[in-house]
């Protein structure tokens, strides 16, 4: 058991926690706009955390750079995807959920 493995383990655990959080948010929140929040934030951070953990775990090599590339790609693509979905819902005029309304399951 090396210090590197411990750091990697902690980062992976944090990532898993955020993934579970994202899933919970996706199931609990009331409408499509608020569901975008856990998807864009928790999944991005969870994914990046697990990937960085694996980078620490594997040590430096070309594969580490590949993982870094995936991290950068994940950051750009998840933000853009969240925006694209939100925009399509907004342009289509889906009403947003206000306080006091019934939850839309």
């Amino acid at each position: 058991m090396m210090a590197r493995d411990i750091i990697a383990g902690i980062l992976c655990a944090v990532g898993t926690f955020f993934f579970i959080l994202g899933t919970t948010g996706l199931l609990r929140l009331p409408d499509v706009f608020s569901r975008l929040h856990p998807s864009t934030k928790c999944d991005t951070l969870g994914g990046c955390s697990v990937l960085i953990g694996l980078m620490v775990h594997s040590g430096f090599s070309f594969d580490t750079l590949k993982l870094l590339l995936i991290v950068a790609f994940l950051l750009v693509s998840s933000a853009t995807c969240g925006h694209a979905i939100g925009r399509s819902a907004f342009v289509k005029g889906i009403p947003i959920w206000k306080k006091g309304l019934e939850r839309e399951e």
Binding site: L21, L29, D31, F33, C42, T44, L65, K66, F90
Partner: protein, 170 residues
Amino acid sequence: MHTSEGSIFYRKIILAAVLFLFWIVLTSTLVPVNIVLGAICSAFTASVSAAILGRVLDPQITLGVILRLPIFAVRLGWEIVKANYDVAKIIINPKLPIDPRITEYRTYLPGDLPKTVFANSITLTPGTVTLKIEDDKLYVHCLAAHHEEGLHEGKLERMVAYLFGVRKDA
């Protein structure tokens, strides 16, 4: 965006160089055959994508932007961590204390690229998602009231302005 033939050519070469680095990372070997293939492929990709997309590398990417990028990335990373802590608190709370609203925000950032970076940073940070962008007006969905206030403080905008070296009154 006044670009002469020469500067387009230089930007094509820079794009090809970036793609070549990407190729080296992908193939993860330094065999001569691979390097030759990579040089051919990246040059070909640069010219083809310039022809298909109709433009090469945004002219707003300067050396200064690339140098300031790591600082920006670290600050943005910290903001993302804070954002997640915030959203986590809301989701775990059994009462689900949310009060969603859509707010408008006017940005002074010029050009498409800074606006895009700004909008994507908004999407990644506390309880806000950019829904639509019209010229310099952004429609932002906020999860709760304090997120809206946080957005209007303009901290993120200052960060992006720092990245692209933009002054507010410029």
